[in-house]
């Protein structure tokens, strides 16, 4: 066990955990940030996507010991009132079905747009390729990403 000081959603938080614990479980089990979901544990589905210094990463394969001073953003911290352009576009297009994959989708999409405000079709496909939606909302996700790009 070891103590880690983490910067999450602009706040500093401390946990005392096994250093190998993936950030996903630190968030969910130790910090009550359950918006980030578990789907596969092997970086194959994207449900656990968070931002590390603004880039989309899969928190299920990132040991807490590797975070250091990097800034973590989770779905809970993406915006104050759920009004990030990506979240607004998600509502406009009524994207979710079951909704379980959507936090990860939104985190991947928002990281894409912050690094590339005018993504092409192919850019969107590439950036979202790591996020499975078993319900099949890919078309609405893509439409919402395009809308969000216009409203950035």
């Amino acid at each position: 066990m070891a103590i880690f000081n983490l910067n999450i959603n602009g706040k500093s938080m401390q946990v005392d955990v096994d250093p190998a614990t993936p950030v996903l479980w630190v968030l969910r089990d130790h910090l009550d940030l359950v918006g980030t979901k578990y789907g596969c544990g092997v970086a194959a589905c994207g449900a656990c996507t968070i931002h590390l210094d603004g880039n989309a990463v899969r928190s299920c394969v990132m040991p807490v010991s590797s975070v250091g001073g990097s800034k973590i953003t989770t779905i809970e911290g993406l915006s104050e009132n759920g009004d990030h352009p990506v979240q607004k576009a998600w509502l406009e297009h009524d994207v979710p079905q079951c909704g379980y994959c959507q936090a990860g989708q939104i985190m991947s999409a928002s990281a894409l747009l912050s690094n590339n405000p005018n993504p092409s079709e192919e850019d969107i496909d590439n950036a979202m390729n790591g996020n499975i939606c078993r319900c099949g909302t890919y078309l609405r996700i893509k439409a919402a990403v395009k809308t969000a790009a216009q409203n950035l």
Binding site: M1, D16, V17, D18, A20, T21, P22, W25, R28, D29, H30, L31, D32, V34, G35, K37, Y38, G39, C40, G41, V42, A44, C45, A47, T74, I75, E76, L78, S79, G82, Q87, W90, L91, D94, V95, P96, Q97, C98, G99, Y100, C101, Q102, A103, I106, D125, N126, M128, N129, G130, N131, I132, C133, R134, C135, G136, T137, Y138, L139, R140, I141
Partner: protein, 761 residues
């Protein structure tokens, strides 16, 4: 270290996924809807001194507070279909509520109170359209009567709109909330005496209504199964029998118990063979303070298994045996005319076999459930279950208590597709909570999920079809073999049931004079369950691919052929051609929900028109067609495929036409079809579960592949036929016709027919 924050945080009324019914609403027991229609009871009063909140609750689904808050109970499980919105939408429309002031609360599992809660078989809207209308209309009737009396005008001149009663002549308006004191003690009218709205005045039914949970989902606040947290809760991760029927001989848990945070290892006794639809598999559960410790602890267990009779099972070998069996005489399940006659007079015989694999549900949320077994013999559960009542009963049986002692809270489901109908994972949580003497959340890993599912069955089929000298289809001999769902509970069930055959096989609708449908024996070596559209998946694949091949052989257009062989508009039946069997019509009487060829023809004509069927296509593109009625909903589908200059295949466009009777939430109907096309693309192109030495070979999404955004169809158009027929479901019907439509399009593109799924893996 662990933060003990109960799930029950303060919540705003809107856009939160509430799991519980507020305790002040102690609705009276009203009897089951499933047994004899809609019952209305006396209202529950929540009266008090002046100024206190008053509540009017004319039935179990609806209450209105004096502060104008309308609360509607969602009693069916939300797994992505939108049902948690669509049924309340019906109540709110009939009531004349202001949709923005409606709060939706999820019911706990209690079928005596709410009626059927088994969210399966695409029947929520079909079963509850009328009861929900009456629930809203009854309250409206009472509110209107109260306002009319207050104003001294005839009730017939009043109506409701946006949460108010309105008198058109005088332009008087009053909020529902201001009438609560008057109506809360009023007698409840008999359901027959309330008038339902004229459909032309619907304000919500037939409209695009956004799902209630959108905002909660987009902000990460929606509560799914694994999100529920209780004080002192432990996490359990289970190592289950790698082969169905395997038993633990011995195990070593020293390494596991040495992991900080691990507290206990508990053995779960499995049912053996047959494994049962509602029982856990044999396994060892590692109980820990946190999920990571439980996962590592489970990995560290050293288990010696008696693998039992399924240890030599190989699914590819079974498939070969099943395919071979279809060449023999089988058990006759439907017969018309005499297929031998057709064979004798045939100018051409086409004979093909079709194979499809086991499929896993792989809901994006793996199973998880929370149980809090209390010292007094009661247990409280939180679970993403499609069938809360069955889960209650299964838990009660496992703990040897009465099901009334099991309180079942239903969370949102991160996908269901039939997997979360089975209560095995809920039972695990209950057993483990009892053993750990604390609340326990059982968390399935993805590997657990893919290795220990209730799979869609492996299938083999053979269709022999004859064309006579006049170029007519004269005979249809369909052999189907697949381990039956029933075998999971009863090892002696070696033939598919009438119910499974009625899903796209014995309900072959075409006017062919000689029909013979046969089944063959096969045994289940794993747990078989039902997956979105069930045996329609493989039956529609085979039938529609063969129809396409027949059209080609006859030199006719497949769309024209389907219209021709559906024949004149009429209702058709099947039971009289099923010796000793019955066409189950998805549980509905055939006269109440007939199989109407005219409705099928209309969706076929519509899809052909919308998709530009028959128009010339650019080089490298082709279209495929199929139609399949399932779950009482008529669907036709045309898929366009494209091969680019690098030989890469894509799906630029899909058209669906659907007749599901009255369309309740048009946006959610479209989203089910959009999702259905994507789900079915995985079935056709990428996904398969295979067994070797009795074990599933696929452990995660790297080997059990689900399509991702780049592989998705690029456009999916859903054309909803306007209808005043009784509403039917849309959760499953998008899947069956899409599968062969894609295969038929691929054939046009490549010249190669597809006889085995998945073709792209």
């Amino acid at each position: 270290m662990k933060s003990f924050i109960p799930v029950f945080k303060t919540r705003e009324p809107q856009n939160k996924s509430e799991v519980f019914i507020p305790s002040r609403r102690d609705f009276l027991k009203l009897g089951s809807l499933a047994t004899g229609g809609f019952l209305l009871g006396v209202n529950f009063q929540c009266s008090g001194p002046k100024g206190e909140l008053l509540t009017f609750a004319p039935n179990v689904y609806l209450s209105i507070d004096s502060d104008n808050l309308v609360t509607i109970i969602a009693h069916r499980s939300e797994m992505g279909t939108g049902i948690r919105t669509s049924l309340p939408q019906i109540v709110a429309d009939e009531l004349g509520a202001d949709w923005n002031k409606v709060k939706i609360v999820q019911a706990e599992g209690d079928e005596e109170k709410y009626g059927n809660q088994n969210t399966d078989g695409s029947f929520s809207v079909r079963m509850f359209y009328e009861p929900m209308r009456k629930a809203g209309a009854t309250a409206k009737h009472m509110l209107v009567a109260a306002a009319a009396e207050k104003w001294g005008v005839p009730a017939s001149e009043c109506t409701t709109e946006n949460g108010q009663v309105i008198h058109a002549g005088s332009n008087k308006k009053i909020d529902f909330g201001d009438l609560i004191e008057k109506v809360k003690d009023a007698p409840i009218p008999a359901p027959e005496s309330v008038t339902l709205k004229d459909p032309s005045t619907f304000t919500l039914i037939g409209k695009d209504v956004a799902i209630y949970d959108n905002k909660a989902i987009a902000t990460g606040k929606a509560v799914f199964g694994a999100d529920v947290d209780l004080p002192n809760m432990k996490i359990a991760v289970v190592r289950r029998s790698p082969v169905v029927g395997a038993k633990v001989i011995s195990y070593k848990d020293e390494k596991t118990l040495a992991i900080p945070g691990v507290s206990q290892v508990v053995k779960i006794d499995g049912a053996g063979i047959p494994p049962g639809l509602d029982k856990p598999l044999e396994g060892l559960a590692v109980i820990a303070d946190n999920t990571w410790a439980a996962i590592k602890g489970a990995d560290a267990l050293e288990i010696e298994w008696d693998l039992g009779p399924n240890q030599s099972y190989n699914s590819e070998i079974q498939l070969e045996e099943m395919l071979a069996s279809t060449a023999k005489d089988g058990k006759i399940r439907r017969t018309r005319g005499n297929f031998k006659t057709a064979l004798q007079g045939a100018a051409k015989v086409i004979e093909r076999t079709y194979a499809a694999p086991f499929y896993a549900h792989s809901t994006i949320e793996p199973p998880a459930a929370i149980a809090d077994y209390k010292g007094d013999g009661t247990v409280e559960i939180w679970a993403p279950t499609q069938h809360p009542q069955w889960a209650r009963q299964a838990v009660a049986a496992a703990l040897d208590i009465d099901y009334q002692q099991v309180k079942m809270n239903v969370t949102l489901l991160g996908g269901g597709f039939g997997r979360k109908s089975k209560p095995d994972f809920v039972v695990e949580a209950a057993l483990l909570s009892k053993a750990a003497k604390s609340p326990v959340r059982v968390q399935w890993t993805r590997q657990c999920d893919l290795n220990h599912d209730f799979y869609h069955s492996l299938s083999a089929q053979r269709i022999k079809a004859t064309i006579d000298k006049d170029g007519k289809i004269s005979g249809w001999n369909h052999h189907t073999v697949f381990p039956a769902i029933g075998a999971t509970g009863n090892a002696d069930e070696v033939h598919p049931s009438d119910g499974e055959l009625g899903l796209g096989c014995t309900d072959f609708p075409y006017n062919v004079p000689h029909i013979q449908i046969e089944t063959h024996e096969s045994k289940a070596h794993t747990r078989i369950g039902w997956l979105r559209s069930v045996s329609n998946i493989h039956h529609s694949f085979a039938i529609n691919c063969m129809m396409d091949e027949l059209a080609e052989a006859r030199g006719v257009d497949p769309v024209q052929q389907a219209l021709e062989y559906l024949g004149e508009d009429r209702n058709i039946t099947f039971t009289e051609e099923m010796p000793g069997g019955k066409y189950e019509n998805y549980g509905e009487p055939i006269d109440a929900f007939p199989w109407n060829t005219g409705r099928m023809k209309r969706v076929i004509e519509r899809v052909a028109k919308e998709a530009g069927w028959g128009n010339a296509l650019p080089e490298g593109q082709s279209l495929g067609f199929a139609s399949q009625k399932s779950f009482l909903t008529y669907v036709a589908c045309i898929v366009k495929v494209q091969k680019d200059t690098n030989g890469k295949i894509s799906i630029p466009e899909v058209h669906y036409a659907v007749d599901c009777g009255v369309a309740v939430n048009t946006d959610r109907i479209r989203s089910q079809f959009e999702g259905g096309a994507q789900f079915a693309t995985s079935l056709v192109m990428t996904s398969a579960i295979t067994f070797e030495n009795g074990k599933v070979k696929q452990n995660n999404f790297d080997t059990y592949q689900i399509i991702r955004m780049p592989q998705s169809p690029k456009k999916i158009h859903v054309h909803i036929v306007e209808s005043q027929e009784k509403p039917t479901g849309v959760g499953e019907p998008p899947v069956p016709p899409y599968i062969p439509a894609l295969c038929n399009a691929m054939y046009k593109l490549t010249g190669e027919r597809i006889f085995k799924l998945p073709f792209g893996a």
